[in-house]
Symmetry: D2
């Protein structure tokens, strides 16, 4: 490992990409995905807390031999696009600054996902770039593919809305949802590179629990998107933490406005996702291992005995629920093949 390897590219890069906040779990993975992307060049990786450290020291399993630096908005020459992996609230001003300088941005924070300012403020506080608020495309390619092509700013949804929406979209689009309960579960990578006692291996092994049971800020985001699809349904949402690293399972219960048979339900899902490169409607329940380290989402729906519907989805929370989804969106925003660098 004496020499710094150079990034293996297929000819000239289509774009040079900055990853801001690359020392956290999702930022580091985003850097890794850009590094191994055949058409994107990793221009720089930045971090306040770990500037000066090489990323492959921090995350040996990612093979990115670049040093983290502090973000300097005045030396962005040659940077075409950015993935911003900052905490909610901190992201908005940086996203705005990059946007202003003509950089195409995929933002992993929640700052541009909501479209109602009051709702944003209730859950996240005052917004750091109000002029830009409401202008981003929601970064779920399966729902907003055409809008993402050529877009300048995408708000990449996190793992909970991604999993929930992909599980429910086929029903929401038909206006069938009247009432939704989402029981969501994710691994500890979703908790971030936190030093909280709660994610100490000794606390988490052989453990599992619900959290934020008083109300979760992803609920209004899921409701916003279900309404946009055609179903104004109230959503009850509760997340759980599981003793595993990468993975997000959404078990969604829905009451429908008109009854569906089991066969019919399955064929709605099959048809909806037929041709989607990353979403697969399975014949049985999904599991997390099958999607780990992929941009895939596995969904399955079934009519339960009392007339409701269970819709399940499984994703890797830091891949399809964050970083690889950002790449999928960037591919569309930059005019590349949607699947490039992701298979």
């Amino acid at each position: 490992m004496a020499d710094t390897p150079t990034q293996p590219l297929d000819g000239d890069p289509a774009a040079r990409v900055l990853v801001a906040g690359a020392s956290g779990f999702t930022g580091a993975l985003a850097a890794q995905l850009v590094w191994r992307h055949p058409r994107l060049e990793l221009a720089a990786i930045t971090s306040r807390s770990d500037a000066g450290t090489r990323l492959d020291r921090l995350y040996p399993r990612y093979r990115v031999p670049l040093e983290l630096t502090e973000l300097d908005l005045d030396s962005l020459e040659g940077v075409d696009a950015a993935i911003v992996a900052y905490p909610h609230g901190a992201a908005a001003p940086t996203v705005a600054a990059l946007h202003e300088r003509g950089v195409v941005v995929a933002d992993l924070s929640a700052d541009f996902r909501l479209r109602d300012a009051a709702t944003y403020e209730r859950w996240y506080g005052s917004h750091g770039a109000p002029d830009l608020f409401g202008t981003a495309v929601y970064g779920l390619a399966e729902l907003y593919r055409e809008q993402l092509r050529g877009a300048a700013l995408a708000a990449i949804p996190g793992c909970y809305p991604t999993a929930s929406l992909l599980a429910l979209a086929p029903l929401a689009e038909r206006g069938l949802l009247s009432d939704v309960v989402v029981c969501a579960m994710q691994g500890t990578s979703g908790y971030g590179r936190s030093s909280d006692d709660i994610v100490h291996f000794s606390a988490m092994t052989e453990n599992a629990f619900p959290y934020k049971t008083e109300g979760h800020r992803h609920r209004p985001e899921i409701e916003q998107e279900l309404a946009a699809l055609g179903s104004e349904a109230p959503v009850a949402f509760v997340p759980h933490l599981l003793p595993l690293d990468q993975g997000e399972l959404a078990t969604c219960f829905a009451r429908l406005s008109e009854p569906l048979g089991g066969e019919e339900l399955q064929s709605i899902y099959r048809e909806r996702y037929d041709g989607e490169p990353f979403v697969h409607a399975l014949e049985g329940p999904p599991n997390l291992r099958a999607v780990r380290d992929t941009n895939e989402c596995h969904v399955h729906a079934t009519v339960e005995e009392r007339g409701g519907v269970f819709a399940f989805s499984a994703i890797d929370n830091i891949w399809k629920g964050a970083s690889s989804q950002a790449i999928q969106c960037l591919n569309l925003m930059l005019g590349l093949e949607e699947t490039e660098g992701l298979t």
Copy 2:
């Protein structure tokens, strides 16, 4: 470990207890709990598959130095009570034979839990002891304490009904439940000592998934007991397998027939379980580690933003969800202190 230790008892035993089917996960734990019980003597442990093996070879963490033998119904002299840990269907004839010989029985199978014969047959097939069907006391001391005192036969509920019912009972008893969704999760010990690929460590680590999504036989049992408590509510039920050994989490969503405030809800739970030796209403969400290796159940309820209620409970699936619950019931059936041997 040269000599076989004798069981440490406080004076003469109150009863001599047989554990039938002691080579499985719940039977072995039941044997261990009788062994360490100050008032119960472990009369014999039986197993078809592992007869001839000492239980502490099979489960070194349990310190029961007795040999498993084949059950012989003709030599039950001196046996006062039995815990039967047989599979559903196989249990009924043995339970009936023991009952006939005057042995007090705590049955861990589902064979005597349901009270409607047609429902039993639909989910489990024909019943092996129809005369006894419907005569058992449901073995949840928090709901049937008085009936259990002196009872001759108890049908110990499994982990899913135990966790769901303790989470929902305070609302069910007031007739408040109109609609219930149970999203339940359990560890791999709930899958039994199976050789199925699915519980191989390599398959289960970093994995989680729903299963039996087409309908689960614990649903009618939960509905039966909620109705008995006062709420004829339809229940949608879906179980999940988690990458941990012992633990069962029930996340229950309920629509109420009349609205409750958050404070009111909490005080209903506090009051309901005040004085219960094993059930505690927490101020925040429960977790599995806090109840592992105990007979406790931790519950918590909260009003969610769209007007429903989330009620959570956590138990150890093979303790309160099976074997230690059998001891709790036996204590009542035999006239002992309910908590004896369990603290």
Copy 3:
């Protein structure tokens, strides 16, 4: 959980015990073990970082409903004994102050384990209570039982020396060891309640690695005690971190000064530990699950094909490797049954 339960004691307590540093993993367990001890009363639990918090909020699985307070050396009235769970270096002055006030002390730190001042300084820096240095009894009851009876100060060994010494003592005592290699492995509780990235569940799951490969301060301690037993053997020592919570495995390779047959070896181990309440010589290799949450040590030795010996031992690193071992020692120091509160 409305009322603070009082500690269940068998009559008057034999001693009132303070646990200093009770917010860390080993201190909290020590508090729990005193709390459930039939003859010891938990006088107070102290912590600088978490003063004001109830211990059962910090560690729900321990049921100690007391509040952590700041240690006040001027109000120790009625305190007969203390378990000190401070970091190395920080412990010595507090241990000295308690000792001066007539409090019997079981110290979990390394500050009083070594008997050579230069060695201490090399590995830990200057000593905080040089007058007391070298005066403690080494807190391994299986080796120093008589010296511990009535002793005023015991230096409780950590998990690595405990496991290594119990694995090797039968050979060391006969002067048979000429050369030792210890490959030790422990779970993440041994890393303490650290906020280090390394023990984040996401970093540790599906991982394992050696650490401190340049030299570990437990090596001279192991060598000191082997020499005291009769074998001046050099020890090569390397620790590993495993993806589990509680457990410590010592795989020790030894070259002997004279050859032993397999039978002979086994009988040496059997005889040595015959009658020991907590150490058991098994007929086959030990495992961690069988000793979890116990004060037991399981050992096994075998002659390997090239003439060396493998000696294995398994303990729970925070029980026999720390807190329950402190209770075992305190029992002897206070004139109680050695096994009291530990079975």
Copy 4:
């Protein structure tokens, strides 16, 4: 997933490869690696126990949409090479039959690794293809690269010898090893797709233990290869099972025939592996996560305080310790780039 995807190849395949025994852990991974290889075409996958099942049903995380069939030695037309993933003993006759028919074979079993017939018989019983015994190239490209080029039969070493030999080779080649102790640890995938109680998640989580402590058949294989490299050193070997899926750690202690300084030692390792595509000499201890799902081996060596050397290596036991190593060898045997399909 309606249509069976076809394998994505770069132009015409260089060879058509059969994987025999593709329903086990290593066979399934070998199939997956051939499937995603740009120059090898997956001709067929066979299994006795699971014939008729599609591989991606058995292992959803591998995306091989082919059906397992029974091996028919009479219809091998167009098959250029084979990876045989049979148990020891069962492999030899099939390997011989394939070899006879001109198929290039990478054998994952132990049947052709040893070169001394008596040693083979002692550990494995009588050999199923004595004529072929001793003719295979040992499939460790880092030691036998030139011999593998164009070879017709390679005996791929398992994870224990692979990890141990790569850790020790730099010293063995200089004739420096006089005495070796290997403390090896692997995850549960190394145990195979067994139905043994021991690998049930409930038995393995929070557990770890040594096994085969009376002598392990990989010891003579490691000694054979160290001698071939230049050091006739006795090896004491003991394996451990860890609570993780994929990973193998070898902690090797060596006494040297002449002393080495720490710097010198590190530079020997750096130089030895400089230019190796898959083996990296790290500056600090290796860990399993960094090599998971890769063909890499990370090594590190350090002089310990009593004059010995610790040499560590980490691999993924079913990748570099089995299936990806087979691909690396096949690449050389078939005249392809050694790294093709592995990066």
